[in-house]
């Protein structure tokens, strides 16, 4: 088994995950025997990632900090075949969802996960969820420090935390190690941003109370600079304040963002700092050896610096227009010269966004073995990433991805749509999102047109819970139900890129499904006609405001 370049479980991690499987197996047995009511069982299955959806149980598998080895990805493929219908969906929190799980087989499915050091612990329920990171971590040019080290530290601290397993509501943490925030830290319950101060020390900006959903909010800075070794103590203080004072009377007002909103950021800060002051010298202070031992496991792979301009690549660029476009949109610079970060687009025109069949997962694992140090990442935009590809291997990777159907040159473009599963799968949804995504992506499939339109992020949610992150889409689409008809509310100008976080502005009355493509067409046309050189869609919108877009859309629908 090849060594990974990220955290490897030791006997302690393995024992815990194995014991968790056995605990859940017993809980399932008791439920099926009628010894537990559904009300008693529900939180137990949720904290093992098992939702009851429209048609079946859905299992949400944790992919900590979006990082997978090829061995793990193959196992996910095998599990999707054996326990599901041969495919899975990569989510906006870097997890994998399987939509057709049987309760009676769920313990076996998570036992299979445990074989490759994976689990579904706390991917649902009122507890601390999967801590997400920048999907380019460890490879990005602009990175200050690898955030995944801290994601792993937080993962362990938050797993089966005895005090925080029955919070008022779910709790999501994201960490970025780069000034260009690819982890959307300002729309998380806690966001952590690594940065270097004037003394040259690296610490965390701690941001609290961001979130999407019914009441979207951008997080407030709780602490400008927190020394790294104090992270767990500070998180514990924050969680304790939340556990004690978060609302428990109203499901829709129970997130920490509401607490911050109601008492104010300043008071929140006081409460956390007071609690933190009482525990600063606690056992939670991280020993340097502990940090180093974990950080060491994320040491970069041994990549040989190489040429940036490779003749074979240059030649193929001229020969193959799609390859040229693919290089522009799907390939990002790597910190090691001669290397690149490749995004496999899981958004082929007309396909359900973010889905991969078992065979496709295995195909990506093979490519990772051959060309990316056996490592794969999951982005929160529902794509897969090959983080360590040599530039000279780009033609081979492109061809291999193309055979899988994952080489569409559309990353960051109009057809790189983020969509939640929606009413086709989800018991919470009001409207479908996947057919809307399919319709839009088919309409805009022509690649040269997509590249002309440029960077444009469409994000679709089937209900107010916003799992599709529509609030932060350049174009956000929210499905609503009005008298049994599916209607779609459009918003403009949301963003989580380049350290800029903005919530979208609603355009006007919701439009029916048949008019969505016309509406998007009108938005694009407005942009193309009005744009200045170098302006992206969202930049033109910021310059002109909503009116010209609104007028054009409602003339067209």
């Amino acid at each position: 088994m090849p060594d990974t370049h990220f955290y490897r479980y030791d006997e302690y991690d393995r024992r815990l995950v194995g014991e968790r499987v056995e605990q859940f197996r017993d809980q399932v047995r008791r439920r099926l025997a009628g010894e537990l009511t559904e009300e008693q069982f529900k939180p137990l299955r949720l904290t093992n990632g098992l939702y009851l959806q429209l048609h079946a149980y859905m299992l949400r598998i944790a992919i900590p900090y979006g990082t997978l080895s090829s061995r793990q990805l193959r196992k996910l493929a095998e599990i999707s075949r054996k326990y599901d219908r041969g495919y899975g969906h990569f989510t906006t929190r870097q997890n994998l969802q399987l939509h057709w799980i049987k309760l009676e087989q769920a313990p076996d499915a998570i036992a299979a996960l445990a074989e490759v050091d994976m689990h579904s612990i706390q991917t649902s329920g009122n507890c601390v969820r999967n801590t997400t990171a920048d999907h380019f971590a460890g490879a990005a040019v602009d990175e200050i420090e690898d955030p995944r080290v801290w994601c792993e530290i937080v993962r362990q601290w938050s797993t089966l935390h005895p005090e925080f397993s029955f919070l008022p509501r779910k709790f999501k943490i994201a960490i970025t190690g780069s000034p260009n925030d690819r982890a959307a830290v300002r729309v998380h319950d806690i966001g952590l941003r690594l940065w270097r101060n004037d003394q040259g020390e690296v610490g965390f900006e701690v941001i609290v109370g961001g979130g999407l959903g019914r009441t979207p909010m951008i997080g407030k800075t709780l602490r400008e600079f927190l020394p790294k070794d104090e992270l767990l103590a500070y998180l514990e203080a924050t969680l304790r304040v939340y556990n004690r004072y978060g609302r428990r009377d109203n499901l829709f007002k129970a997130r920490i963002k509401i607490l911050v909103h109601e008492i104010g950021a300043e008071k929140m800060c006081e409460e956390v700092e007071a609690e933190y002051e009482s525990m600063k010298d606690s056992a939670l202070r991280l020993a340097p050896e502990t940090i180093e031992a974990i950080a060491g496991q994320f040491a970069p792979p041994p990549l040989q610096p190489g040429r940036t301009r490779v003749p074979e690549v240059e030649a193929l660029k001229l020969e193959d227009r799609n390859f040229a476009l693919w290089l522009k949109s799907n390939v990002a610079p790597h910190r090691v010269p001669g290397h690149a970060i490749v995004t496999a687009s899981l958004k082929p025109a007309g396909a359900p966004p973010g889905d991969a069949s078992a065979a496709q997962m295995e195909g990506v694992a093979d490519i990772a073995d051959a060309y990316s140090q056996s490592e794969i990442r999951v982005s929160h935009e529902q794509n897969l990433v090959l983080p360590h590809v040599a530039i000279e291997d780009l033609p081979a990777v492109y061809r291999a991805l193309d055979r899988l159907g994952f080489a569409e040159a559309n990353v960051g473009k109009i057809t790189d749509i983020i969509a939640c599963p929606g009413l086709d799968y989800c018991a919470l949804a009001n409207a479908r999102s996947i057919p809307v995504a399919q319709r839009i992506s088919r309409h805009f499939a022509a690649l040269s047109r997509q590249h002309d339109i440029g960077d444009l992020k469409i994000k679709i949610s089937g209900c107010i819970n916003a799992c599709g992150h529509h609030h932060v889409g350049h174009i956000g689409i929210l499905g609503v139900d009005k008298n049994g008809i599916e209607l779609y509310q459009i918003s403009l100008g949301g963003d989580v890129d380049f350290g800029r976080t903005a919530l979208g502005t609603i355009l006007g009355p919701a439009v029916p499904a048949e008019k969505i493509v016309d509406a998007v067409d009108a938005l694009v046309a407005t942009y193309l006609e009005a744009r200045s050189a170098g302006e992206r869609f969202v930049d033109t919108y910021r310059r002109l405001g909503v009116q010209p877009f609104k007028d054009r859309v409602y003339a067209a629908v």
Binding site: R31, L32, G34, E38, L52, Q53, L54, H55, A56, Y57, R81, R85, G86, Y87, I101, K102, L103, E104, A351, P352, D355, A356, S357, A358, A359, Q360, G363, R399, R403, L404, G405, L423, D424, Y425, A429, R432, I434, P435, Q438, G484, E486
Partner: protein, 104 residues
């Protein structure tokens, strides 16, 4: 052509505990996988009784509830709401095929 869209017709539905599959209570008080086997309540009182029965037969299923349906000329039952249509008949698009890869 559907008649009786007023919502007077109801069936009882739930998800099966063991596998989450959508099921409907049939005339024999068993939970059937197919909507066309469902017992149909034709007025409010019968609907109440149907739901009570569903709750009594609750071992092996999760949280039964009533679904409003319409009945076609041919006797075909269909749920009124899109959500229940989807529950009864599945995804409204083709999910990724299991072997969607072409290896050169």
């Amino acid at each position: 052509m559907a008649k009786n869209l007023s919502g007077d017709l109801r069936v009882a539905s739930a998800n099966r505990l063991v596998d989450g599959m959508v099921v409907f209570l049939d005339d024999a008080g068993q939970w059937a996988e197919r909507l066309d086997r469902a017992a149909v309540a034709r007025d409010t009182r019968s609907a109440e009784i149907l739901l009570q029965r569903a709750r009594l037969e609750s071992f092996g299923i999760v949280e039964p509830f009533l679904v409003a349906v319409s009945e076609g000329e041919d006797g075909r039952i269909e749920p009124l709401s899109l959500r229940e249509k989807i529950r009864a008949s599945g995804l409204t698009f083709a999910a990724i095929a299991a072997e969607a890869v072409r290896y050169a």
